[in-house]
Symmetry: C2
């Protein structure tokens, strides 16, 4: 079993590392970080770099594809090398997954048409423009496509898919090992729960956040 | 304001990236990944590398120190270069923090004696041997020392400290932006909540997990 986590310029680190630390603990699986070129790939802030150990071309048929998001998604949505790889990898994958605006890349590659999927709450409208049925759920499974909401939701996605593949028992063991017993100090993690003025403020800034 | 996140061989990725993605969004702060040498630093599985952009020597006095954990902590607990740097950095830091077994490094550096602190649930006894008062809480603040429990708890720690420094409003905005509205598919994230046989199994394996 091979899990490929895709990196690209200006990705969001937790989008990639959440699924890595959960789903990546699948028994007998190899996880590999891939990008157009090997070497460090910088996140949106530029002060974090994860290393891509293999090129996209070197990993043509992973069993599981994980696509993180990032605020600089627009250029990637026109990156034909990346979109072609997503289409090729998806043709033989068992699961094709995304976190955050990673679903916009899957949609831009034409993989989510007519399906239910999710994304960062600020990107749901954009997702709809690709003929996708957006939902406000945190983790959405439609066939072999598993999409997660913003940034931190990749942890929930990773555990959910881990349970589906390796069984509830193994997923619970990984939850315990990663001590995933969340106790956020605030209750503002979704647009339904956060103060309305914060939601509006982030919506107003989202033109910049998502570009 | 400078935030230094310390990397070392066999660190746990989410320990570092959880605080990075939350606390790292402190306004007007620079976050820098540091290690003994610059360049890629591999996690415990070897299939993930984060890049250290500066050496420890180049960042002698960060305002906030973040120390992740990892299962290969024992050699680091005898790494005098790292422990010396922790002592030096701590002498002028505003906050000294850890996630998971990172607290064992702070304790080994002599920084937590007589204080309340936490660690990965499998490492609490080891913490006690350093004269630290271990607690089962997820995030513990004692003076300027903020320690968090296992792996994923760094997200809660990061948001907690962010609120303390930048105010609740900013921390809520970061929680909303990172869509941190956790919905774990299981309720097994702590030894109190997980099935007893899983707790015992991980305890039995912990000799290997923690080395």
């Amino acid at each position: 079993m091979q899990i490929a986590i895709v990196l690209f310029d200006r990705f969001t680190a937790l989008d990639a590392v959440g699924p890595y630390e959960t789903l990546g603990r699948l028994p007998d699986a190899e996880t590999v970080f891939v990008a157009e070129e090997t070497g460090p790939v910088r996140n949106e802030s530029g002060n974090l770099a994860l290393v891509a150990d293999r090129t996209l071309a070197e990993v043509p048929s992973p069993d599981i594809v994980v696509v993180p998001g990032g605020p600089g998604q627009t250029p990637q949505m026109e990156n034909e090398t990346l979109l072609d790889w997503l289409r090729t990898a998806d043709a033989t994958s068992t699961w094709t997954t995304s976190v955050c605006t990673g679903s916009l890349l899957l949609a831009a590659a034409g993989l989510l048409g007519g399906r239910r999927a999710t994304s960062h709450w600020l990107a749901l409208e954009q997702l709809e423009r690709f003929g996708v049925e957006p939902t406000g759920e945190r983790v959405v499974t439609d066939g072999k496509y598993v999409t997660a909401a913003g940034v931190s939701s990749g942890i929930d996605m990773g555990l959910t898919l881990l349970g589906r593949i390796a069984g509830d028992e193994h997923a619970r063991a990984v939850q315990l090992l990663t001590e995933y017993d969340p106790q956020p100090p605030y209750d503002a993690g979704s647009p339904e729960k956060a103060p309305a003025h914060l939601v509006e403020e982030l919506r107003a800034r989202s033109r910049f956040i998502l570009r």
